[in-house]
């Protein structure tokens, strides 16, 4: 049961997201972030917009002169290349000192004042603290405030670090074996294979960040009203859940949209059959969140920036497959996902036996008829991402009023928290920790990564 105003608002938001999908498909690419070796982060106070339309006071990290963002800027580093991160504190005086810790790295800190975990930046001090480290291992990491963490991380002082491996990308098309219609090695449509870690078993074509956070509005309101003596974080009870700083359906909107100025990152994975996605999952929450992957299993290849490996040169030989991955507070997970439709037992393109095959089509199912007769349209509720056809790349008839958000005839799969209460925005369903993977046919136009 959904109350109608809520349903209406959600649909509007989905329509907005869908229009962007259709009009400007160029913005899905890769992971947004800042690169370089010298970063200038500034802690500031600002506001974010929740999926239910509410506005929430936050503290967060800004990239230099920019606005605070939630989560903080994703720092994209190179393995072995030293970096410095200068932090200054422009939070309100009541927020007190602020700092950054970098789990997984050996850090030296200079300037500021001594704190419990690391050196801290004092409000208004233009010199701040400078942290320096060399990321020795590739992978996905978290950074967050090391000061009064129970409140400051909740308030938004948290971000992701990606350390790129030293292994060079390779060109060529995936060869999935004789069961598939592999593209020829030099086909220009194929993306380069990049390597999350320094081993061939960690290759991927597209990568997406899944930064999981949650929020208790009560705490943020007490901060906003200056009632610091009333704040008791032991009573925190999250009612809003985020992927890359946004609630569903805002997760699907384009990155950098002007109406979400402090939530620049989206979470809108997309792929073509036979490609491999790298899921970079970071969890910075009060509670663990089980992320469930519709469509297929993922292979978990690393935790906390360390490949699941029995020893040097062995690659991710301790990796395993899950259909749901627990994101534990403060941890990161890297996982690989691919989709072909293998084993479904029918031709996903609706081919007749003599038709030409699609790239990475499952040859055994070529021309195998669709196994059921679908009910009449009036017997069905048609989801906004249903194309009207069960076949990939096809369209079918849709009733008047259907938003038609699946212009490419893709297969949409939900990736979401399986603690299902987290699919809401402060008591409003649907929302929260949801996004949709879109598997699109090779005939669709996609951005170059």
């Amino acid at each position: 049961m959904i109350s109608s105003p809520t349903r209406y608002r959600s649909i509007l938001a989905l329509v907005a997201a869908g229009l962007i999908l259709v009009v400007a498909p160029g913005a899905f690419a890769a992971i947004q972030g800042v690169t370089g070796t010298s970063f200038n982060l500034v802690a500031r106070q600002d506001r974010i917009t929740l999926g239910d339309g509410d506005s929430m006071l936050m503290w967060g990290y800004a990239n230099g002169a920019g606005r605070m963002q939630y989560p903080g800027p994703t720092l994209i580093l190179q393995q072995g290349v030293p970096v410095t991160v200068k932090l200054t504190n422009q939070l309100p005086a009541a927020a007190g000192n602020v700092s950054i810790v970098f789990p997984g790295h050996q850090v030296t800190a200079v300037g500021g004042v001594s704190g419990v975990l690391t050196r801290e930046a004092v409000v208004g001090d233009p010199e701040g603290v400078t942290y320096a480290f060399t990321p020795t291992e590739p992978g996905t990491y978290i950074y967050h405030s090391g000061t009064r963490m129970d409140l400051q991380v909740e308030m938004g002082l948290v971000g992701a670090i990606i350390v790129r491996s030293t292994t060079a990308s390779t060109s060529g098309c995936p060869n999935l074996g004789a069961a598939f219609n592999n593209l020829a090695g030099g086909d220009p449509r194929c993306l380069e294979t990049k390597y999350a870690y320094n081993h061939a078993g960690t290759g991927y074509h597209r990568e997406f960040l899944f930064f999981q956070t949650d929020l208790d509005p009560k705490l943020h309101r007490l901060v906003e009203f200056g009632r610091f003596n009333r704040i008791d974080t032991t009573e925190g009870f999250a009612t809003c859940w985020f992927l890359n700083g946004r609630n569903f359906p805002d997760t699907l909107a384009e990155a950098g949209v002007p109406w979400l100025p402090t939530q620049p990152y989206n979470c809108s994975p997309i792929m073509r059959p036979g490609e491999t996605i790298l899921v970079r999952m970071v969890t910075a929450t009060r509670d663990p969140h089980p992320l469930h992957f519709h469509g297929n299993h993922v292979r978990v290849i690393a935790r906390d920036g360390r490949m699941l490996s029995s020893g040097p040169g062995n690659g991710p030989d301790l990796s395993f497959e899950n259909y749901t991955v627990i994101g534990n507070p403060g941890q990161t997970v890297d996982a690989l996902f691919t989709w072909t439709g293998e084993g479904m037992g029918w031709d996903i393109y609706g081919h007749a036996p003599g038709d030409p095959e699609q790239p990475y089509e499952v040859l055994a199912d070529h021309g195998t008829p669709f196994p059921v007769v679908l009910p009449a349209r009036d017997d069905l509720v048609l989801g906004q991402f249903y194309s009207g056809s069960p076949f990939m790349g096809s369209q079918g008839s849709l009733p008047p009023g259907h938003p038609g958000l699946n212009a490419a005839g893709g297969f949409f799969f939900m990736w979401h928290s399986h603690t299902e209460k987290e699919l809401s925005n402060n008591n409003i369903f649907p929302g929260g920790l949801i996004t949709l993977l879109n598997v699109v046919p090779w005939t669709a136009e996609l951005p170059v990564e």
Partner: protein, 398 residues
Amino acid sequence: MGKMRGSGIVVLVSALLLVSGAALAQNLMVQCPGDTDGDMIPDLPGYENVVCKHVTAGDGYAVMPDGKLMYTFGFSEVPAGTTEPRVFAERQLKAEFTGPHIVLREGDELYLNLTNVGMVARPDLFDAHSVHWHGIPNQGSIFDGLPESAPTVVIGATFPYYYSTAGRPGTYFYHCHVEVSEHMQMGMVGALDVLPAQDGTPIGGFTKFAYNDGDGSTGYDVSKTLILAGFDSNFHDKHIRVQPLPFADMLDDYHTINGRGYPDTINPNPLGSVPENNNHFSQKHDSVITVNQNQRLLLRIANISTTHLFTVRVLGIPMKVVGLDAKLLRNGATDLYFDTDSVTVSGGQAADVLLDTTNVAPGTYFFYTTNVGELINGGEERGGMMTEIVVCPPGGCA
């Protein structure tokens, strides 16, 4: 099987259609290829691997061990031979918690027909329903049950789901994905096991296995599927009182295994029959586990709670985890099995756990959540997520 379908025209079977012609009963069109006599069992050659089921989705009631009546949504299986005009009359208010336990053999093709019979106690609702086979590899959107990307079925109509199981043994479950936080909290969940093709072949002293291990290392003598789930009584009470639903406050206070809290878990009889659901047994699945000493027990443990992760333990019998999320724990030739005394299963996860009772003294052993605060049935202590494993002497219990 695909080739056998030839022209691609599915044999649509319903007793009514055969008798009265195709003009009637458009809405309740149950599909079972190869079935010629309407018993949902294929008769024609070439359809030996086809398994047909007819399941309804609607509302009903369950009863907690402390007597608390819980309004629910759920699934229920339509007995073979129920003619389609009778489905509505006979299957309303028969929601079960947990739903029908589906067991398939690898290689089966499942035609799962879902009829939406509506919510009798909430006639103001017109929700669609669906089946999401949780965890099936390489699914297509059309049969994924996701209301955003697939058709879902309105009250009075039937949707045919098709699933191929070749290469897909393991422990799964299914649930409705429409308005999923609500419908799952309300009870629309059920167990789904796919037995491996290796079953029946003697390997390592066993003929039943969790997976196609090739070496008998996942072999077992006795198995039990344990679905961990729960109810937030506040949510269910507000639901039947037609109040705004408390999503933000949702927190289960009744914790169950296979739809029952302890001690109902060890009651071998069907439960949940009350006047409110026309005396339908809405809680059919016990968690009674009996094994003989020196036998191996497989527990298929899945968590479908909408609010809780659970760690579970068997007091006195160590665990060996051999599978997670319907995958054998093996990478190449290397087993990644691990020995443990407890296993954590989040919402949406499943674990395959072997218990070896070699030299385990006959007696009663407890399976329970070590989240000990959840050993409750609402306000009643010494209940909740717990059941008993009875280890009998080698020859069996008297």
